[in-house]
């Protein structure tokens, strides 16, 4: 199952969807009248990343050094036919899952952490800074920094910090300095704590803290999702999947993934966008950005330091309910993905936590893999789809963005 025909499966180029979108993507918008928050990105992001972000080449060559690292961390990841799940659901079609949990850090996040850290290290940066919700992105950042001989600092959303001590420990093993956000290490964090010392935190707040910290210290900031360059790096998921399906003589009829900021879904689905496959982007019912959010310009971060993007958003000051799937609590979603949901090319679906937990149980019991709660949302959508029409012959392909071995306590919530 693991790493067969690796040369054949790994793509040489990342894929950027922008030249193939139905309409022109709205550029980032400055937050204030007389300064440029777009220009500010130059202070906090590696130059090479910015060049990728704004040049929109359809095919972006993967540097050899990053390809080597991709192989090190477990790429290509497996594409597996979920025969036992099919049987359990009496589904007549096929269900495949792409398993990003097989990377060493346990999720897709490492796919973009590696190039971002590599570009930063090439510029002589000593420390990278980021935020993390579920802990997966912080873990990926910590390892990518360590592999590139840099220090890392992670602002971890307070709820997750409390829920997931093991995540924090792993990041620390990889050398990261992890703090709970809102924190006393930034002005923005202090301001929020002053208003509410028990503030649960949010990704928007943690991003603001990380950016403020990076700006103040002259370090580089790492982006976990949302930005186009991140989605481009994540295209390795879909490009591998495409090749793996091809090698098995299969074709996807339905593609399903979960959406936080949109990076795993977009990376998985966009390489198929010009084809006919139906696409379903699953969000948490508790964070219903596509079904209840507004499509328009909104801030990436809560403090409004970064530019605004045209996207579906529940508002940059949205404080999400404390659902377990921390990675899905973000208020917005990547502009290209938002556009494709808005245009109807991609269908959005909301799934609530209880349904997710049942889906995770069913998947674990049939396939043996305990998925991340975020990925559980995609699985729940796939199960819904198969149950709707068990006689269908359609091939469903689901992206399992990560494993849930560090999230087991979610199962005790399901029993409550």
């Amino acid at each position: 199952m693991y790493q067969t025909k690796e040369q054949e499966i790994l793509p040489e180029y990342w894929y950027n969807v922008v030249p193939d979108l139905p309409e022109q993507l709205s550029p980032p918008k400055d937050s204030s009248r007389d300064s440029s928050s777009i220009e500010l990105l130059k202070q906090i992001l590696p130059e090479k990343l910015l060049e990728q972000e704004f040049s929109f080449r359809r095919n972006e060559r993967i540097p050899d050094e990053i390809m080597d690292l991709y192989i090190q961390i477990g790429r290509p990841t497996p594409l597996v036919r979920a025969r036992n799940l099919e049987k359990k659901l009496s589904y007549s079609g096929k269900i495949f899952f792409k398993y990003e949990g097989a990377t060493v850090t346990g999720s897709h996040k490492i796919n973009t952490a590696l190039p971002q850290a590599y570009y930063a290290a090439n510029e002589g940066v000593e420390e990278v800074v980021t935020e993390t919700g579920a802990g997966q992105w912080g873990t990926a950042t910590a390892l990518a920094a360590s592999l590139n001989s840099m220090r890392s600092k992670v602002f971890m959303v307070s709820t997750s910090y409390k829920q997931k001590p093991l995540r924090k420990q792993i990041m620390e093993i990889y050398g990261a300095n992890v703090v709970s956000s809102p924190s006393n290490e930034t002005d923005f964090g202090k301001k929020i704590l002053k208003e509410n010392k028990d503030h649960p935190g949010s990704l928007g707040i943690a991003i603001s803290e990380a950016v403020e910290y990076a700006l103040e210290k002259g370090y580089k900031y790492m982006l976990g999702s949302v930005m186009n360059s991140v989605i481009t790096h994540q295209s390795i998921i879909g490009l591998e999947t495409k090749k793996q399906l091809e090698l098995q003589g299969e074709e996807a009829d339905v593609m399903i993934g979960c959406v936080g900021g949109g990076s795993n879904f977009s990376g998985f689905a966009f390489p198929f966008i010009s084809g006919k496959a139906e696409m379903i982007a699953t969000t948490a019912e508790e964070v219903p950005k596509f079904t209840h959010g507004k499509f328009g310009y909104d801030f990436i971060d809560t403090a409004g330091i970064l530019p605004q993007l045209k996207m579906f958003s529940l508002g940059a000051d949205f404080v999400p309910p404390g659902i377990y799937a921390g990675g899905l609590r973000y208020h917005g979603a990547a502009p290209a993905l938002s556009m494709l949901v808005h245009s109807g090319r991609i269908r959005a679906e909301d799934v609530g936590e209880n349904e997710v937990i049942s889906a995770m149980r069913l998947f674990s019991g049939t396939q043996g893999i305990i998925p991340a709660p975020e990925s559980g949302h995609a699985i729940a959508s796939a199960i819904r789809y198969a149950r709707q029409d068990p006689a269908s012959k359609k091939t469903i392909v689901v992206n399992i963005s990560g494993h849930g071995l560090l999230d087991l306590s979610i199962f005790s919530r399901g029993k409550q």
């Binding site: 030249p19 709205s26 400055d30 007389d34 777009i38 130059k42 910015l50 704004f54 040049s55």
Partner: protein, 246 residues
Amino acid sequence: MKPRLLIYFTLGFPDDQFLVKLIRDMPDGLVDGLELGLPSADPRYDGPKIRLTHIAAKSRELERFDPVLRVCGERGIRVNILSYYSDFENNERNILSFLSRHSVHEIIVPDLLIDYADIADPFLKKLQSAGISYIPFFNAATPDRVIEKYMRSTNSWIYYGLQPSTGINMPLDIQSVVERATSLLRGRDIIFGFGIRNGQDAARIIEAGGHGIAIATALIDDINRHDADSVVHKIEEYRRAIDFVV
């Protein structure tokens, strides 16, 4: 063909008298055209410097700008008008009559394809019936099929933005952006603008196959100081930089 040099001014900035005098006294043949921006209430695709010119221009009464356009006419300088659709929408009749009064036949609408793509077709028809040619405004984020569509529905030259907005200088591989644009837009003249800061950038664009450049932000500080000599001097530098390539 000689590379083209377009210069952008926001109408009303710093004031009408300065622009009239600047244009009246410009050396012959220095510029191939002027792009004149109608002050916008929401210049969202402009960088901080040009945004401030829109705010400083205050009044949006078009009659006020008649003298500036008259002097362009007298000097035989080709003019195109830049108007955000968000402003055009509210002031359509006045803008069209302003264009016709000054025999301006070209308009650039930077937000049309981005924020108003769904109403672009009827808008283009309206322009056509008013005898005005729509200059497509593309950038690296313009999808291939949008470019193909406007290549079919217009026959104008193309304005191509190198950067996400004016006055922004993101790291950019000029060569690859220009080559991609020229290969997608074969057969059209392409003028590159947004973020050209020096003669070297300008020359690189022409070397890579661009047909001309548009300069805006690089002149704003001098304009703001009412320093016409400096403005002209800078324009001359760009002129030399692009002419030297050929």
